[in-house]
């Protein structure tokens, strides 16, 4: 971190002179001290091709660091390498990244992210090495147990503590921009176009297969249904497609018409399908379509998914009855799989390792579950650790894994038979080729770094049960609780994701009709293109994936909260939103800003220009260097005659 001049060289030179001068003791006192040198910080961020926004934040911070006398080095790394460096190896100074929640989230998401119980774990758990035992830890624990206004107060205090201590600096919540075309699929919501719910809610457009979709009336796709005239003829085709579903794959034309084609600049989904791999998952949207969760939360609505129903048992337990469905390999999904999953996520070695090797993701969620027990084939009982309902619901949102596949992966990870690291199991490092899930999509094929294809799982309960029962069934609805928009879905037979070189190329692919939508982030170079493409449209929504600057608080001087708050005030969030996001983002001070009901008024970014916590030092767009230096001096830092900030020679 600090640039070390060779002390040996200095000593060799000074030594001779000093010996002859006969003042060895004094020389030792001087030369024996570590010399101060300029502080250097390395800022890690993905390159512009992979994430057009993050690198702009990194550049902005680097520029302002240099201005106040700190040497900044920008290190561009691909997504996987960056995550490995930051989340697994904790070998970083500063990183710029996005939070891993795609949608606005419950405050308990901060539990895994900042609780000190996770400092020694790798993955999305407290990558900062941050520990505030009496403040943040205390609030995190109490917001789990309290309800109503008491929880609200705990959450408000939590945000103030995080704001004061700045283990990470929230920069902005980006609008999840997506370029879409609607000639083949419609009902792209302006909510979460590419969430699990958004993708399942898509409908075939009339023009695409000459098919009207069954549920279009319910969903009221107000725009784009002008051609209702050929409704009868449309329905015929649609029914045909569903009835001979197994044959649809053979029919090239029909298969093509029913293929949803997405483009992304993020190659990870073509390489790895492990739902718990921290390096490879962005939001986990596609792995959530492969692996069902007990409940699905769509736009704040809790939808019973793999769990058909649940009933409270005792003080802190629920008894969950599962839907009847199969894994992609034909084995039935049972309560034993659910029991296994919750145990496995706590310790992926299933008790075979010296100490537990927990999953690198979902830790905060599963830490709320004390035990999971299968009662019978289709019933499982979860006992919670005295948490409130929202935290319990979060705990139900983990991918349920097939026991018969993953219990083979509890051994230590090896390379060519050699154990490399005793802290890692096969389950954590596997690419999970040919993933066996139970979700509405199943894996077909992939060309690493190029493309991946999934197909509709005709055996999934939303498809199967929707067809069996039909619309006129009078028996009790086997899909009780599942909204109409998800029944019989997905509307596509095949989902293909192609990797593009940049966001501009991705938008171009949508404009040219080679793709239906973009998945990855769009930057200021690509957003204006969408308007110029006749058939492309911009949809957006609300994101939980806030951009933030994360600090490694294990390393001095980033270990000092005073220093971190000065860094926070070097970030001109308002200007960044305009330049790095083309205005498509909201600057924020609190990590919970996407859910304003949780944010106390003193932390709200009141549409104004200034950060309520650590306002930018200077006018928008221009840093006040002297004031920034004064802040650093007040915090105890020193500068040399050239204005360089000195790091102690440790």
């Amino acid at each position: 971190m600090t640039r070390q001049a060779s002390r040996r060289g200095v000593l060799a030179g000074v030594g001779i002179a000093a010996l002859s001068a006969g003042c060895l003791g004094r020389t030792r006192n001087i030369a024996g001290r570590g010399r101060s040198s300029q502080l250097t910080l390395e800022i890690n961020a993905p390159p512009a091709d992979r994430d057009p926004n993050a690198i702009r934040i990194a550049r902005h911070l680097a520029e302002n660091l240099e201005a106040v006398g700190i040497e900044a080095r920008i290190n561009t790394l691909g997504h996987t390498d960056l995550r490995r460096k930051v989340l697994i190896n904790h070998n970083f100074d500063v990183y710029v990244g996005q939070f891993r929640e795609a949608e606005p989230f419950d405050p308990d998401a901060m539990y895994g992210f900042t609780h000190s119980q996770f400092v020694a774990e790798s993955g999305w758990q407290n990558p900062f090495g941050f520990a505030d035992i009496n403040g943040v830890d205390e609030r995190l624990a109490s917001q789990r147990r309290l309800d109503g206004t008491e929880r609200r107060e705990a959450v408000a205090e939590l945000q103030r503590d995080l704001g004061d201590l700045q283990p990470f600096t929230v920069v902005a919540f980006p609008d999840p921009l997506t370029a879409v075309r609607e000639d083949r699929f419609e009902n792209w919501t302006n909510r979460q176009p590419l969430s699990v719910g958004g993708l399942l809610g898509l409908e075939r457009a009339d023009a695409a297969a000459g098919a009207g979709s069954e549920t279009e009336s319910e969903e009221g796709t107000a725009d784009g249904n002008e051609s209702d005239g050929n409704e009868s003829d449309g329905n015929e085709t649609d029914d045909g497609l569903i009835d001979d579903n197994p044959l649809a794959d053979d029919d090239g034309e029909a298969g093509d018409a029913a293929t949803l084609r997405l483009v992304t600049t993020d190659e990870r989904i073509t390489q790895n399908w492990n739902p718990i791999a921290a390096e490879y998952r962005r939001y986990g949207t596609f792995t959530s379509l492969l692996y069902d969760r007990l409940v699905l939360v769509d736009d704040g609505e809790v939808i019973p998914w793999l769990a058909a129903d649940w009933e409270p048992v005792g003080d802190a337990g629920v008894e969950i009855s599962l839907r009847e469905t199969d894994w992609h390999d034909g084995e039935p999904v049972t309560a034993a799989d659910v029991e296994f999953t919750y145990e496995f996520l706590q310790d992926t070695s299933m008790g075979t390792a010296e100490s537990a090797i927990p999953t690198p993701t979902f830790r905060g969620r599963v830490s709320a579950v004390e035990s999971a027990t299968a009662i019978d084939e289709a019933t499982v009982r979860l006992t919670f650790d005295g948490v409130n309902e929202p935290v319990g619901v979060r705990a139900l949102q983990v991918p349920i894994l097939p026991k018969h596949v993953w219990e083979e992966r509890t051994g230590m990870a090896t390379i060519a038979g050699l154990e490399f690291d005793a802290e890692t199991t096969e389950a954590v490092v596997t690419n999970n080729e040919d993933p066996v899930g139970s979700g509405p999509l199943r894996f077909v094929e992939a060309a690493p770094e190029e493309s991946v294809a999934f197909e509709r799982n005709a055996g999934h309960f939303v498809v199967r049960t929707a067809e069996e029962s039909g619309s006129d069934s009078d028996a009790s609805d086997p899909l009780a609780g599942v909204p109409e928009r998800f029944r019989g879905k997905p509307a596509f037979d095949r989902l293909e994701i192609e990797v593009m070189g940049s966001d501009v190329a991705a938008v171009q692919a949508v404009g040219d009709g080679r793709a239906d939508a973009t998945v990855s982030n769009l930057g200021p170079d690509s957003v204006p293109r969408i308007g110029r493409e006749a058939d492309a449209r911009l949809v957006t929504g609300q994101s939980g994936g806030f951009y933030h600057v994360g600090y490694n608080t294990r390393r001095a001087p980033l270990s000092n909260p005073r220093f971190r708050t000065v860094l926070a005030s070097l970030i001109d969030k308002r200007t960044l939103v305009d330049t790095a996001f083309d205005g498509y983002a909201d600057p924020a001070a609190s990590p919970l800003a996407a859910t304003p009901e949780w944010v106390p008024t003193d932390l709200l970014w009141e549409g104004g220009e200034t950060d309520p916590l650590h306002p930018f030092v200077g006018e928008p767009g221009s840093l006040d260097v002297e004031t920034a230096r004064d802040r650093l001096r007040e915090a105890g830092y020193r500068f040399d005659e050239d204005g360089r900030l000195l790091a102690s020679g440790t």
């Binding site: 390159p47 561009t76 080679r514």
Partner: protein
């Protein structure tokens, strides 16, 4: 048509036409007829150099992915060092000279001009009665690729467009995103140091100067095109000045080595490999050419 196919098709069309025109005007009909009559013999004569190039290209195609992984895991992450060295030079180039006309010019030079620049000398030198020059050219190409690939693996760095998108526009891919389909097939975005576009263009330019007596018309054309490609790599925001300087060094080194490897004294028409035994040794590819030709030559 997929963007890759359409780019390749238009590339084949334009470069093909340019080659035709250039062959007639620069090489001349007489030499072209002679080449046609003697094509098989000449190709047979240069088979070892060609084989070396093909080996390097195949190794590059197959090994690139694994070498990229090695580079990611163990390579020197030097993006910051390159930036510290030259700062905003590329941004300055764009800010000072950027104009829509120049962007169109440099984008086409970078893709079409470059392919033409590399393919024409092969044809032209093959049409020379003696095969020494074409052998040297092919060996120099192989050396460029082999050393370039090794450096790509050792140095893990991203280009200016990826590091400072606020100052440097990715002009090529912003205006012609379809080109990305092509370059993405050939190159990784982390392969910036050294610039192979620069090194191969400078290689051709150097050969054009060295062979100015044979093809006086080609020398200014090659010099112009090579300079344009070199500037294009920076103007388009793809490479750093550092990459360009390293590429130029690589080119001069490769030309020098190719002269050491392929002996001047060779007489035409014989099967003598004409490889200087003492030459090279600094690089694996050179050794390969040496060893291979010795084995066959004896």
């Amino acid at each position: 048509m997929s963007p890759l196919l359409s780019v390749v098709a238009s590339l084949a069309l334009w470069v093909g036409s340019a080659l035709l025109v250039a062959s007639v005007t620069i090489v001349g009909p007489r030499r072209l007829y002679a080449l046609w009559d003697d094509l098989r013999d000449r190709l047979w004569e240069i088979r070892k150099s060609l084989a070396a190039l093909v080996v390097v290209l195949i190794a590059s195609a197959i090994g690139r992915g694994s070498l990229q992984t090695v580079s990611e895991l163990f390579g020197l992450q030097l993006t910051w060092a390159i930036y510290a060295l030259e700062g905003n030079f590329v941004a300055w180039v764009q800010a000072t000279f950027g104009s829509p006309e120049l962007t169109v010019y440099f984008a086409s030079v970078y893709v079409y001009g470059y392919v033409f620049l590399l393919s024409f000398p092969f044809l032209a030198y093959l049409a020379l009665p003696r095969t020494t020059t074409v052998k040297r050219l092919v060996v120099a190409y192989a050396l460029n690729y082999a050393i370039g690939l090794a450096l790509y693996t050792v140095v893990f760095a991203y280009g200016p467009r990826n590091v400072m998108p606020d100052l440097v526009t990715s002009l090529l891919f912003t205006h012609n995103p379809e080109f990305m389909a092509l370059t993405g097939e050939i190159n990784e975005p982390t392969n910036v140091f050294p610039s192979l576009h620069t090194s191969l263009s400078v290689t051709v330019g150097t050969f054009a100067v060295l062979t100015r007596r044979e093809y006086p018309l080609w020398t200014p054309v090659a010099a112009w095109l090579a300079t344009s490609v070199v500037i294009a790599t920076m103007y388009l925001g793809i490479h750093w000045l550092t990459d360009v300087i390293a590429g130029t060094g690589l080119a001069l080194g490769a030309v020098y080595l190719s002269y050491r490897v392929v002996d001047e004294d060779e007489t035409d028409g014989t099967d003598e490999p004409g490889v200087d035994d003492a030459g090279g040794g600094a690089d694996g590819a050179v050794d390969e050419v040496d060893a291979g030709s010795e084995a066959v030559g004896e």
